[in-house]
């Protein structure tokens, strides 16, 4: 059962073509990382899946085309790269925003809404922060709060845009381990954009490389992450070290031996 399928997905922003006929086929429960150099269209791809920008082509979610934003938000949750944290908003209220697709603009909080929020806050170890303002939290805590809001949507598909930017190594691992655990527990489908290629290789089932608005390679980490592919599309010189749990990408230092 495909979770999300795109067929000839093309996007132009302000007359400039960004995506050219992207075909994706992501299965239920799969974790796919989208990698690609800056400006290759990763965020635009996520935005078109979210329906927040106009596109041509066809996007099917769970086998159907969804037009209504509210319906889409029930199956698709989004963790933006730089979320807007409103001043003075408490963690509990921020997480409750995730219930919006279930109650609409005018609905009140039901017991179910509160129960879901409690469950998510406990699962993400955020219960002690409920009465804190989101802005007063550290980067790692904040990222978990944003993730909590997305999980409160109870959507089957999680879209993560650079979820590890601005986090130190330990917190990067924490967040991705958390997503992986949740994926297994709740059967989530995860689509993430990532800059760190080693992390992209370590987490998830499949990598799709986006370059100039096209998916150029797609497959397992060791199929996609070769020194040639990275040199061609990232303009980087790297060495690939094959480890048992995935390839490690190391920048190759220029020759520094004394002349």
């Amino acid at each position: 059962m495909p979770s999300i399928t795109t067929d000839g997905l093309s996007v132009a922003l302000g007359g400039v073509p960004i995506l050219h006929g992207v075909d994706l086929d992501i299965g239920e429960g799969e974790w796919v990382n989208i990698i690609g150099p800056n400006g290759s269209g990763k965020t635009t791809l996520l935005r078109s899946l979210l329906g927040t920008i106009g596109y041509e082509g066809r996007i099917e979610i769970g086998g159907v085309v969804i037009d209504k934003p509210q319906d889409r938000a029930r199956v698709l949750a989004y963790v933006p790269q730089s979320p807007v944290i409103p001043p003075g908003m408490y963690v509990v209220d921020y997480v409750m925003l995730g219930r919006t697709p279930h109650r609409g603009v005018f609905g009140r909080d039901t017991d179910t809404d509160v129960a879901v929020a409690i469950d998510v806050l406990n699962r993400l170890d955020l219960a002690r922060f409920v009465e804190r303002e989101v802005r007063s939290l550290s980067g790692g805590e904040r990222q978990r709060v944003v993730l909590a809001r997305a999980l409160a949507q109870q959507a089957d598909i999680l879209l993560l845009d650079e979820p590890t930017t601005a986090l130190d190594l330990g917190h990067q691992q924490d967040v991705l381990d958390l997503v992986d655990g949740l994926r297994r527990e709740r059967g989530l489908t995860v689509i993430a954009t990532l800059h760190d290629l080693t992390l992209a290789a370590r987490y998830g089932d499949r990598i799709a490389l986006l370059a100039d608005g096209r998916i150029v390679v797609s497959g397992t980490p060791s199929e996609v992450l070769t020194a040639e592919v990275i040199a061609e599309h990232f303009g980087a010189t790297v060495r690939i070290i094959d480890e048992p749990d995935g390839p490690v990408i190391v920048p190759a230092t220029p020759d520094r031996s004394p002349r």
């Binding site: 003075g88 806050l121 303002e133």
Partner: protein, 345 residues
């Protein structure tokens, strides 16, 4: 674990109503003829059709409360509440703390409308109705339509709408200045209109404003949650399943209508739409679920007290209320800003 989402709780609501009652009793009781709070309350009850209460006041004193001061206090309540709630809603819709209810040219348009009416002697009482407020209202709505039109041409973004509002306001202010210069004998009258007042000789002004007040307040209360969602920005709001543009246009139209009606009966009372919502934020938090209802209550109370100051500080003369709101409001705001530990923007 007890988790409770933010909502308007009894103490905050109680504080709002207490402020309102204090303001109303003071507004009705204080003046050249002083009337005790207890008698004011009885006279108030007595003024409600179908109820009667013996205030123990002479009929002249009771008439002062019921017929002279009450319409004025009610008008102050309506104007203050409308301007405050419109300001709060505008700030939420545009996610900008400096935005006030006059953002889309309401003040400039109303000023032009009133100036034309005054200089053409439409408001001298010779007609059946006073045309100054109607002309001001038409001018205010014209300005909003113009701003929306110009903003739409400019790309429909929030920023282009704000810029269009600034351009329209400047343009209409220039027109107003021109009309006034060409009729300099009306200078004093126009100037006094612009500085604002909530004086009324009866119930016609409060009744004129009432329907717009009801619409503005009803729409804002209904959208208070939506404004909280809008706080995360358009893209995330959309990802949460709402249509931010739709929310924004409903809120802005209701707020503009309310502000236009308020300005048309009271003149250009400044500062209320900015100061009251910000004080409420600093004291009670930033959620629109709390801010919208409390802006209505505290806005009404603030305006009644400002009017009380306007008519008593330099008795028997009256200060323009726009002067009072800023003169008292600005220092008060600084004090609240200094004592509050909240980060609200």
């Amino acid at each position: 674990m007890a988790i409770e989402p933010t909502r308007l709780r009894a103490p905050a609501l109680g504080a709002g109503f207490a402020a309102l009652v204090v303001a109303v009793v003071a507004g009705l009781g204080v003046g050249p003829v002083g009337i005790a709070p207890r008698a004011v309350l009885y006279a108030l009850v007595d003024a409600v059709p179908g109820l009667s209460a013996d205030s123990g006041l002479s009929s002249i004193r009771e008439a002062i409360v019921q017929e002279v001061r009450l319409p004025r206090v009610v008008l102050g309540l309506l104007v203050g509440a409308t301007l405050s709630v419109s300001g709060a809603a505008y700030q939420g819709a545009f996610r900008n703390p400096l935005v006030d209810p006059y953002l889309l040219g309401v003040a400039a348009g109303a000023g032009l409308g009133a100036t034309i009416a005054i200089t053409q002697n439409l408001g001298d009482g010779s007609g059946l109705v006073d045309l100054v407020p109607l002309s001001a209202f038409a001018g205010a709505l014209f300005a909003v339509v113009l701003s929306y039109g110009a903003g739409y041409i400019g790309g429909r973004s929030t920023a282009s709408l704000v810029l269009a509002g600034v351009a329209v306001a400047s343009f209409l202010t220039a027109c107003q200045t021109y009309v006034l210069q060409a009729n300099s004998d009306a200078f004093r009258e126009v100037y006094s209109w612009i500085l604002g007042r909530v004086a009324t000789s009866g119930w016609s002004e409060p009744l004129l404003l009432l329907p717009y007040f009801v619409v503005a307040v009803a729409v804002m209360l209904r959208y208070r949650r939506a404004l909280d969602i809008l706080a995360v920005g358009d893209e995330e709001a959309q990802a949460l399943g709402i249509d931010p543009r739709r929310v924004r246009i409903h809120v802005v139209v209701a707020a503009s209508l309310g502000a236009a009606a308020a300005v048309s009966v009271s003149g250009l009372i400044g500062f209320v739409g900015i100061i009251v919502p910000h004080v409420v934020r600093l004291v009670f938090g930033t959620s629109y679920r709390v801010l919208i209802p409390l802006s209505i209550l505290f806005g009404g109370a603030f305006m009644v007290l400002a009017d009380l100051a306007a008519r008593t500080l330099v008795e028997p003369a009256e200060l323009p209320i726009g002067v009072v709101t800023a003169f008292l409001g600005a220092p008060f705001f600084v004090v609240v800003l200094r004592t509050s530990r909240r980060e609200v923007w």
